[in-house]
């Protein structure tokens, strides 16, 4: 095997690759962030009122089953956006993120022990502060787990945008396919996988750093 095979294509196109990578991150991560911010109030509603949960959780399940290609081609028709607007990819990705996270957030909030919330009420927390400083922090481990799935899947789904001409690294894949350039395709796929893994690791690490109490539990055996 000739180990030099990506050369000389790679150095010659490094600027294009960097631009495509930046575009890919913008296409994939912005919707995840937006989806997270929307999922927290929706998940809170679902954890608080059984009726809200009965509507939101099945709806999220249904939304997640819509094929990405279908959603990406439908969005311009529904939103009236131009055919190459990045929103055509970002809106579907935000929908998938919300579909995943509403359930995570609501499950995580439901799992906060009843005696902890009762104690918070009993010592005199007002509802908003209780949610932000007691319930939400305790939900972090489960939310981060959901967020990792949502992020990795958004990184991969963003490539589908290439089929309607909204590039990112997916654009390199379709371009390589058209030009019969295996190097271009492999480099793009490898970058998507590597970046997804790096972001996943960062989320895992951040989640651990901001929840020191979960590790304290593992370090010390709980005596009853």
């Amino acid at each position: 095997m000739n180990v030099d095979w990506p050369w000389p294509w790679l150095p010659r196109n490094i600027d294009d690759i960097a631009e495509a990578t930046g575009e890919h991150l913008y296409l994939a991560l912005l919707p995840v962030l937006f989806g997270l911010l929307v999922s927290i109030p929706l998940g809170w509603a679902a954890s608080r009122w059984p009726i809200a949960r009965g509507i939101l959780v099945p709806l999220a399940g249904v939304l997640y089953t819509i094929p990405s290609l279908a959603l990406i081609t439908l969005v311009p028709l529904l939103l009236g956006t131009k055919i190459i607007d990045p929103l055509n990819v970002q809106v579907p990705l935000a929908i998938y993120t919300i579909a995943l996270l509403v359930r995570s957030v609501s499950d995580a909030l439901i799992a906060v022990p009843g005696d902890v919330t009762a104690a918070a009420t009993a010592v005199g927390y007002k509802p908003a502060r209780q949610f932000l400083t007691v319930e939400l922090p305790l939900a972090i481990p489960v939310i981060v787990a959901g967020l990792r799935v949502a992020t990795v899947s958004a990184m991969s789904l963003a490539s589908v945008g290439a089929l309607i001409g909204i590039g990112g690294l997916g654009g390199l894949i379709t371009e390589g396919f058209k030009r019969n350039n295996a190097v271009e395709m492999v480099v793009a796929i490898a970058l998507i996988v590597i970046i997804a893994l790096v972001i996943d690791a960062l989320l895992l690490l951040t989640g651990r750093v901001i929840t020191p109490w979960t590790r304290a539990r593992q370090r010390t055996a709980v005596k009853s």
Binding site: P113, D115, V116, A118, A119, A120, T121, A122, V123, G124, Y125, K126, V134, P137, L138, T211, P212, W213, A216, R217, R219, T220, V222, K223, S224
Partner: protein, 372 residues
């Protein structure tokens, strides 16, 4: 002072949790609400800090209708200890205790310093401050729960079955600690339990609830044992209430007789009678030994028969500090039928027998000390 005036809690499905409750909780005393499941004792407690709002009647706190107070602000002035402690798992022990001072706007440094003092007060050393609740035993968590409730120095403390989830030895420790704290702090404490023994041990007054949320009897523990108001109370108070009532009579009249002792390391052959108390160098009891158990060898920690409970007499002051119940139990639980009497330092001073306890009880009855 907390006053319940015709307080009723009826749920939409028609269940009546509390039915026209009239009751006054005295300042600086421990008032215990006790009763079987579904008797409305916890509902009544939670109505005091508006965790539950009554559907009828009025609750006055120091003469003021609690409905006039904003619930979160009302609650910050009322300490609350919950079953399983309900500590915040994501905060260190110190920050758990500092919760209410921080809510009321005390600076972080001052709140933590106060929290450190409270941990000491409930018997936890400063090494616990930086730990998380999951790293503590159930009993330690409950101590932190008590410290958290006391942090803002509220005059009123509500305790909702706080010690029911820990093992009996730890529970006994926590109960003793509560009584010790109360003797220093003089809080107005409302304590909910389903355990009548706990109610009698801790309460200055005990309110017995019956199913359906009605107050069956509200009395001092000794009056409750001596004169239960009706069949429900007498059956709830239990079969051996006569025995437990002995706990309210001091054992002053019980003579402390001689008792045979033998030091560990001596030969069992020197024993005169059947049984002797094996003691250490400080004359503290280690257990019982007989010629049989020691097989005429040397008395050692290995061949002792474990002893019963100890009856503490305060010989220096000339009186006794134990109750008739302590004295009788010491005699009944001893393998030799002689209960070991010890002084305040734990050293053996003599023995008591069951018949002398019963004689002392008969004397107490004659002199009218026993309510009949």
């Amino acid at each position: 002072m907390i006053e319940f005036q015709a307080v009723t809690k009826k749920y939409p499905d028609g269940t009546v949790a509390v039915d026209s409750l009239d009751l006054t909780v005295d300042d600086g005393k421990i008032t215990v609400f006790v009763g079987p499941s579904g008797c409305g004792k916890t509902t009544s407690l939670r109505m005091i800090n508006r965790m539950i709002d009554p559907t009828g009647g009025t609750i006055l706190l120091d003469g003021k209708d609690i409905r006039e107070s904003d619930p979160p602000l009302l609650r910050r002035g009322i300490g609350y200890v919950i079953q399983h402690a309900g500590l915040f798992p994501h905060r260190t022990v110190l920050d758990n205790v500092a919760t209410v001072p921080l809510l009321t706007g005390t600076g972080k440094r001052e709140a933590r310093q106060k929290a450190g003092e409270l941990l000491e007060l409930v018997g936890l050393d400063s090494g616990f401050a930086k730990r998380y609740p999951a790293q503590l035993s159930g009993g330690q968590q409950q101590r932190v729960g008590v410290a958290r409730a006391l942090a803002a120095d509220p005059p009123v403390l509500l305790m909702d079955e706080p010690f029911s989830a820990v093992d009996p030895i730890v529970r006994d420790d926590l109960q003793q600690q509560l009584l010790r704290l109360q003797s220093e702090l003089d809080k107005t404490i409302v304590f909910v339990t389903h355990d009548i023994d706990e109610a009698i041990k801790l309460g200055d007054r005990v309110a017995v609830f019956r199913v359906g949320g009605r107050l069956a009897q509200y009395d001092t523990p000794s009056a409750l044992l001596a004169k239960p108001a009706d069949g429900f109370v007498s059956s709830f108070v239990g079969r051996d209430r006569g025995y437990r009532a002995l706990g309210f009579l001091t054992a002053n009249g019980v003579p402390v007789g001689p008792i045979a002792t033998v030091k560990v390391g001596e030969q069992a052959g020197s024993l005169d009678g059947d049984w002797a108390v094996a003691v250490d160098a400080d004359n503290k009891p280690l257990g019982w030994v007989s010629k049989q158990s020691a097989q005429n060898g040397e008395v050692s920690a290995d061949n002792l028969v474990s002893g019963g409970s100890l009856f503490e007499v305060d010989s220096a002051a000339g009186g006794t500090s134990g109750s008739l119940r302590n004295a009788l139990d010491a005699a009944l639980s001893s393998p030799s039928a002689v209960g070991i009497a010890v002084d305040a330092g734990g050293a053996v001073v003599g023995g008591v027998t069951a018949d002398t306890v019963l004689a002392a009880l008969a004397d107490a009855r004659r002199s009218g000390e026993v309510p009949t």
